[in-house]
Symmetry: C2
Subunit: 741 residues, 2 copies
């Protein structure tokens, strides 16, 4: 009992420890050697571009967020006042609280994105410098630079949710406070959507635009310094992969924390009536688990080490297995200590915490499964990538057809893994014997929530591995640009290949966590709607017996809303993909102008105007992110207002399913195309006579087409879909009062 | 009252009239001039190949269907015996009836496919011959040849459903008989699935394989007689487009007839208790409507005429507007005569039939809307195709990206149109005042059923237009092969372009009807499950109050089943697309062998072995259709047995949504790529200096890549998805007893 009470304090302690540790890592990275003058020059140009983009992007996002906060506050204030005038927290006060929570969530997300990206950009040149000396040192610099992002994202999300929960009366009224902080999750989603969209459009437009105008039109090599678009490409890796994915996972952890706390309220009520000790521990549980995940990650960073001749992926995997093992131990400790049900037991006389410990393990296992599914489909050593490489022999058309077939196929393993995780954790949870006063077993849904928590315990580590990707990618670019030694280039090439894998893994992880988190938020939404309905019934403004008992797909409005939800996923992706094309055009026009008006560029006597391309790309990408972003925000509001609270839940569920599957298709086909190209470049493809079909062959040209097609799939539309799915969930959760009739 | 009774006899009368009319049209077509000796030679080779494929394919399908019928009969027999032993029709008797209905459905579908395709193949040479004389005559020959298919498909489906309904006691016990004939729909779906899969794989494998080995490898032109794969390509147009789409729409009309009759039972019960005259008319209504649709189509065929200098599409449109207008009139007549509710009125004192007449009009309007949506997205004169053509300037990658963006975008208009049709017909129907004893308003769902019927009134005409496509396509090929006059070639080129449009339109129509029909069948499924549950409750083997009241997406098994349903759509498409690649490989290997071992082919001194390529393609395509077919049949059975009757309904609904949207993406992106290529070939694309970028430019080469990618999308995976969606609906409807716990 005492331990359970004390455990709550682990939340701020772990959060602050993680931030301090991130600062320590940042100092460590910054103190390393910055490399040659040539390296620093390139790095400074990248930093300048990234900072310029981030400044402008986050100013835009901040303005949008401010506007959204005011609108949300007013809407909630007016709707709730109109419907019930008789609760503890209501009307304009609730509107104000929601608006403030939204802004705090948005601010935390922006802060972790900005700082994390800043350190990442600083890490790339130091990784390049370290690569001149040692592989292990280069891995460590890149991983520590990435870990700064990882820790900041998770710690700020934890402290933010906890802080606002306490500020909104969580210690005195824990059953109501979780519902008051949903604005925080919405704020985080809102920022994540625009950060991912803007960054994703920027990075791929720069990539495609620079290639088309340089390689195709001017006939100069890829990554040639004469091409002003190339620096924009390197900047893009940072703003898309670092800042974008950071915001994505910030949102995942924040939304999941809040959703799980809302579901915890149902168990809290049972605990209260059953007289179990520490009922509020059921509500704090998600935050405690997350705190232990952070501590486990701190330890694991020290296991990223190895021999000079070792595969760098092994070093990263070593740390991943450590954080997973420690998380499992922490899970056992926390569940056994906080889930105190007195003498009550579940099925077969087993203590309830044991079932939930099992659910948490399912979550941890799911994240491992996803890591391996993604590897199978996108790494060069397995059937799918080989199949695409073989298909390249007969030209770009068969390469594309084969890649689409592989992308579609990947949904199978994804869906089955998620299905098993949900069914198993739901079943295990339902055995814990958590039955409420109405006779409903709430353990199943809570079990799925615990599985999500288990899965997300390793987020900080996964995010560090993800950010490792752009850092090493940039380190490679800097090494090449500055004409560094052959040995250093070999090391950065190896790191870059590993970085490609870790980036792909993170997307798999982000998808799986998005689907579990969405199911959680969906359940939380139903709880919230019924809380409001109950209050309205109590206040006499609504008939009894009108609770939202089911989301009935057989009702026409629910089916129609579900249909529109699935459609939104395609329509949004279409807008995102098209935005890349439009932005790339802007780059092409500018680089063409430079080639024309600055004739000295071609003979290296004139330096291209890098800053101007970066600036133009920035403006175009930010302009292009507005339409898909607005469609994503407006559609659920319109559907919810027109078709009601039940229909919007159907919309949310089916949009989640459709979004997760389409993101899987886009991410994995893109990853597989990319690696099919690398497979051919590495000389693994042979014709019937056994001759190697490498670079400059038709097969390679076909594979390049596939790679280019995959770019906006895997780096713009796919990742934006993860964010979309969670945004839809938080938007409906926050605006629920608007949809109830 | 008298009219309503008499109207039932219109069903066999219209059915037989339509068949006689089809025979008359067939005789008319067959009596036309067969053209030159050279033309007849090519046509005979095509006929030979098509007959060989169809014989082998339908033998395989017949065997599969026989096996399936036995299994279904036994399963239904055993399950129903085990659960209830106390009804009018039960156990092995019900199993036998279901198995027989399945076989009759399968046989009718096969018969209409075989005869229709036979006449189509006979029509192509006569169209080619007519094109030497007159455009109008060529249009009429092709349209009449296509109409044979159209009439047979709709008439056999109508007579089949009516015959088996009467045979199973429909005249004495109309409230039970609709549930006994569901096997007919399943049989039709089963045949359609394999017909569409086998035909779709054959046609696109031949197309892709012949191109790759001829154009790419041997460097000879497309459609060159030296390439043995080219005849397989021409055969493919017939077996894929004619037989496949015929089976697809046979299934739509059959399944929709049965589903609507099941929903009619609910109104019949109300009519009985309210003492309305002719209660059984509510059950016969769908068949009467279909009968009038057939009669309207017969009249409209005579309006396919025009001037020699007219756009052939106008001639076809003229007939379409006639059948639509006549259908609207028939709808008013039939609803006013059969929906006799005595003195009872709906909202505002309006007679109930008026509301349902409105629902039928919504259906007719929806089909017009879909015709125009498809035109906008796939015809060369609008923004989407132009956009893709422009993107071809920067290479195949941007062509593909742009096509995918367009494909994704088309889901928007599709989903909104379906949403409006469902919401509007549901709302209108609910105003009719059809409230049952339990107080439920059943008019809404019945309204959506009437909208579907309205939509499907024009099926025979649409199908005739669709078959017009492959006939004119083949006529063009024959004209070219036989080196006919320039004038004839101009006419067949114009007809071919129109045929491409009509083929695309039919797919849009098939998708829209599939989604409406699926919703209908889904509602019928719930009715059937509750019929069984009620019987079990009555028999005392089940607790009262356990009816299936909602399909609750918030329950984990329902959500998981829905997830798997959406995944199946991708996985099935992946298998279908991959099957095209594998089959194409078989063709490539054989044509390579012929080039190698028969050196006389290249200088025209040796005739290539066309028959062998056709035979090899046939074998490979039939082998490749088994796996996706089995996955489609097995998945719903496994999910239903494991997760239960509620979950499988969620599976069905979400698979329908996902399938309709993915089919939309695949069909429309494929159509748009095809027409972007044609747009460039027609010389509409210009560079910045105003120079035309036509054939043999890089832009054209890029557009060819897009066209090839689109082939398996729009002609294999997309159309197979329509069938899949309906198969899932009929399978769950038939096997419902297996899923109830």
């Amino acid at each position: 009992m005492q331990i359970a009470s004390a455990l709550q304090w682990i939340i701020p302690v772990a959060g602050i420890t993680a931030i301090l540790f991130a600062l320590y890592l940042a100092r460590d990275v910054l103190s390393r050697d910055k490399g040659t003058k040539a390296m620093q020059d390139v790095a400074d140009t990248i930093l300048e571009g990234a900072v310029a983009f981030i400044r402008r992007q986050y100013t835009t996002i901040a303005l949008l967020a401010l506007g959204a906060a005011v609108i949300i506050g007013l809407v909630i204030g007016v709707v709730e006042t109109a419907e019930v005038a008789d609760t503890d927290v209501f009307g304009l006060q609730l509107g104000l609280m929601t608006g403030v929570a939204f802004l705090v969530g948005a601010a935390c997300s922006m802060a972790s994105g900005i700082i994390g990206m800043y350190i990442s950009v600083k890490s790339n040149v130091r990784t390049a410098s370290a690569a001149q000396r040692s592989l292990v040192e280069a891995v460590q610099v890149a991983m520590r630079g990435g870990a700064v992002s990882g820790f900041l994202v998770v710690a700020l999300s934890l402290l933010g949710v906890w802080g606002i929960f306490v500020a909104y009366g969580g210690t005195t009224n824990p059953a109501i406070a979780p519902f008051l902080i949903v604005g925080f999750g919405f704020g985080a989603s809102f920022v994540a959507l625009f950060a991912q969209l803007g960054g994703g459009i920027y990075t791929k437009a720069a990539d495609v635009g620079a290639d088309l105008v340089g390689k195709v039109e001017a006939g100069i090599p890829e990554d040639d310094p004469r091409n002003a678009g190339v620096i924009a490409d390197l900047v893009g890796d940072n703003v898309g992969d670092c800042a974008g994915r950071g915001a994505d996972l910030f949102e995942s952890t924040a939304a999941e924390n809040i959703g799980a706390m809302i579901l915890g309220v149902a168990v809290y009520t049972i605990a209260l009536t059953s007289g179990w000790p520490n009922p509020e521990a059921w509500i704090f549980f998600p935050l405690i688990i997350r705190a232990f995940g952070l501590l486990a990650t701190i330890v694991s960073i020290y296991f990223v080490r190895g021999r000079e001749d070792e595969d760098p992926m092994n070093m990263l995997n070593r740390g991943y297995w450590v954080v997973t093992a420690l998380s499992a131990v922490a899970l056992a400790f926390v569940t056994s200590q906080t889930m105190n049900t007195g003498t009550q037991t579940g099925t077969n006389g087993i203590a309830p915490w044991v079932f939930f410990f099992g659910c948490g393990l399912i979550g941890l296992a799911t994240s491992i499964v996803f890591v391996y599914i993604t590897q199978y489909y996108t790494a060069g050593s397995w059937r799918p990538v080989k199949e695409i490489a073989e298909a390249s022999k007969t030209g770009p058309a068969t390469n594309i057809i084969s890649g689409v077939a592989v992308g579609f196929e990947t949904t199978f393993a994804t869906a089955i893994a998620i299905a098993i995780a949900l069914l198993a954790s739901n079943w295990l949870g339902s055995q814990a014997g958590l039955v409420n006063a109405a006779g409903d077993n709430v353990g199943g849904i809570f079990g799925t929530a615990v599985a999500t928590m288990g899965m997300l315990m390793t987020t900080a580590y996964i995010l560090a591995m993800d950010t490792f990707g752009p850092i090493t990618d940039n380190a490679g670019g800097i090494t090449e640009f500055s004409r560094a030694s052959e040995g250093a280039r070999k090391i950065t090439d190896r790191l870059d290949a590993v970085g490609n894998t870790t980036k792909a893994l993170t997307k798999g992880y982000a998808i799986a966590s998005a689907s579990l988190a969405a199911f959680l938020l969906f359940s939380a939404y139903i709880d919230k709607v019924n809380l409001i309905i109950d209050r309205q019934i109590l206040a006499g403004v609504r008939e009894a017996g009108t609770r939202l008992e089911s989301i009935d797909l057989a009702e026409v409005p629910v089916f129609v809303a579900a249909f529109i939800g699935a459609m939104l996923v395609y329509f949004f992706s279409s807008l995102a993909i098209r935005a890349v094309g439009t932005t790339a055009q802007a780059i092409i026009v500018e680089v063409r102008r430079q080639f024309r008006e600055m004739p000295g560029i071609m003979d290296y006597s004139q330096r291209p105007d890098y800053a101007r391309v970066v600036d133009i790309t920035t403006q175009a990408a930010l302009k292009q992110m507005i339409l898909p972003g607005m469609v994503a925000v407006a559609t659920p509001v319109i559907v919810g207002v027109l078709l009601g609270a039940q229909a919007i839940a159907g919309f949310l569920m089916v949009a989640t399913i459709a979004g997760v599957l389409l993101a899987t298709v886009l991410n994995n086909s893109g990853g597989a195309w990319d690696n099919a190209k690398k497979y051919i470049e590495a000389g693994h493809l042979k014709d019937d006579q056994g001759t190697v079909l490498g670079k400059k062959t038709d097969a390679h040209a076909a594979a390049v087409v596939g790679d280019t097609v995959g770019d906006p799939f895997k780096d713009t539309a796919g990742p934006s879909l993860h964010v979309l799915v969670k945004l839809l969930a938080t938007i409906t959760l926050v605006l629920a009062p608007l949809f109830i009739r």
